[in-house]
């Protein structure tokens, strides 16, 4: 649900129904660690259509009986070995880390940032209201929330516009070195290219694949 929501808000969610399962991002080497591990790994996406396939609803995630999708596991996914009447609910730092650093969310954040810049209007308050309405089921932020939101948005934009050039483009472009070791870089690159082009006009984007 959380992943689907992030994808939906950022505009990355692929809405096709049915068809074969897909293998979303997971940390490199995870399957190789277990006995009989290596399986045909992830296929990257090279076009907008393929992005939408990779970013289908979590329902379509490829499932291995002995090693569960890690992004679901930290959010207490049942093992599927027996029926589950009531799902466990934990509240751990592992979830915070997943939301901070799982590529799925990093990428969704980039894409959402792009939406805010492109569709959110021209002032900080407009963008905050737009972002809030997207993520909070259509509500507008109340006045007491506005200052905090505005500051957060401001900090984010400052990072995008005037932050250290190299760091900024590394982050926005999503040229993750780890990914290059056999992981798909292209979804990242596509999203990164959009964001760079919109957020920092004139930035170097030719390095994107």
């Amino acid at each position: 649900m959380i992943r689907d929501q992030a994808l939906a808000l950022s505009g990355l969610l692929g809405e096709s129904i049915g068809g074969p399962s897909v293998k979303p991002y997971q940390p490199a080497g995870l399957w190789e660690e277990i006995a009989g591990g290596a399986m045909s790994a992830y296929k990257g996406a090279t076009s907008r259509t393929e992005v939408l396939i990779l970013c289908r609803r979590s329902l379509y995630t490829f499932w291995r009986r002995t090693i569960h999708p890690p992004g679901m596991e930290v959010f207490d996914v049942p093992s599927r070995e027996t029926c589950t009447v009531r799902r466990e609910r934990t509240n751990t730092p592992l979830q915070a880390l997943a939301l901070m650093n799982d590529l799925t969310y990093v990428e969704a954040a980039r894409a959402l940032g792009r939406r805010l810049i492109r569709e959110g209007g021209s002032t900080d308050d407009d963008r905050v209201a737009f972002g809030f309405r997207l993520s909070a089921f259509g509500w507008l932020p109340r006045d007491d929330r506005l200052p905090a939101c505005r500051e957060a948005e401001h900090g984010g934009l400052a990072f995008v516009r005037i932050g250290d050039g190299e760091l900024r483009s590394a982050y926005l472009r999503g040229n993750d070195l780890e990914l290059e070791k056999g992981r798909p870089t292209s979804v990242q690159a596509i999203v990164g290219k959009w964001v760079l082009a919109d957020a920092a006009p004139g930035s170097e984007v030719s390095g994107c694949r």
Binding site: P27, G29, L30, E33, I34, P70, V74, T90, N91, T92, P93, L94, Q95, A96, L97, A98, M100, N101, D102, L103, V106, D144, R145, A148, C149, E151, A152, G155, G156, F159, G163, E166, L167, R168, S169, A170, Y171, L172, G174, N175, D176, L177
Partner: protein, 174 residues
């Protein structure tokens, strides 16, 4: 107990904790700012609803931030002196072994972690008990003793309660 006391399970193979590293380009400074902003929003929410889970969430973001530096340091055994490996056994050099987990347990206790649980599996023998049990005992015996001795020599044992238990066992005649 409030959920902020919930345990964190370390993985036995590969990275003990997933998603620990920031994406390239994300500095700890920027991360700090982002977490401060998130905390402010969460505090507003908390003041409105009074849900203890929100308080936990705020605390867990902070813990996650600290884990980003403390966990790599915790699992790095390269700075342990030679006599530590004599004590725990050579297995302790290798990630995922019971001996390495015992060493990690000592480091956790040393750093003030209040509850540490170690598991050792594979005691469901059906045949070849003399052989299998010897292997099982070999991989647990020395390291367990080492952990207790190590805690003692660091002055930690007097305030540590050790519970040793099993939920499986076989008699010598199967």
């Amino acid at each position: 107990m409030p959920t902020r006391h919930q345990g964190v399970r370390f993985r036995g193979v590969g990275d003990p904790v997933l998603y620990l590293s920031n994406s390239p380009g994300m500095s700890q400074d920027t991360r700090r700012h982002i977490l401060d902003d998130i905390a402010r929003l969460n505090e507003l929410k908390q003041s409105e609803f009074g849900d203890p889970e929100i308080t936990t969430r705020i605390a867990q973001y902070e813990l996650a931030f600290r884990m980003q530096t403390s966990v790599p340091e915790l699992t790095d055994t390269s700075r342990e002196p030679e006599h530590i490996f004599c004590l725990y056994g050579e297995d302790a050099r290798q990630r995922g072994t019971y001996a390495s987990h015992c060493l990690m347990a000592r480091k956790l206790v040393e750093r003030g972690v209040r509850f540490v649980q170690l598991f050792h599996r594979g005691w469901d023998q059906h045949k070849d008990l003399p052989g299998d049990l010897r292997v099982q005992c070999q991989s647990t015996d020395q390291a367990t003793a080492a952990l207790i001795l190590d805690l003692e020599q660091r002055g930690l044992l007097d305030e540590t309660l050790i519970v040793w238990g099993g939920e499986f066992g076989r008699t010598t005649y199967c």
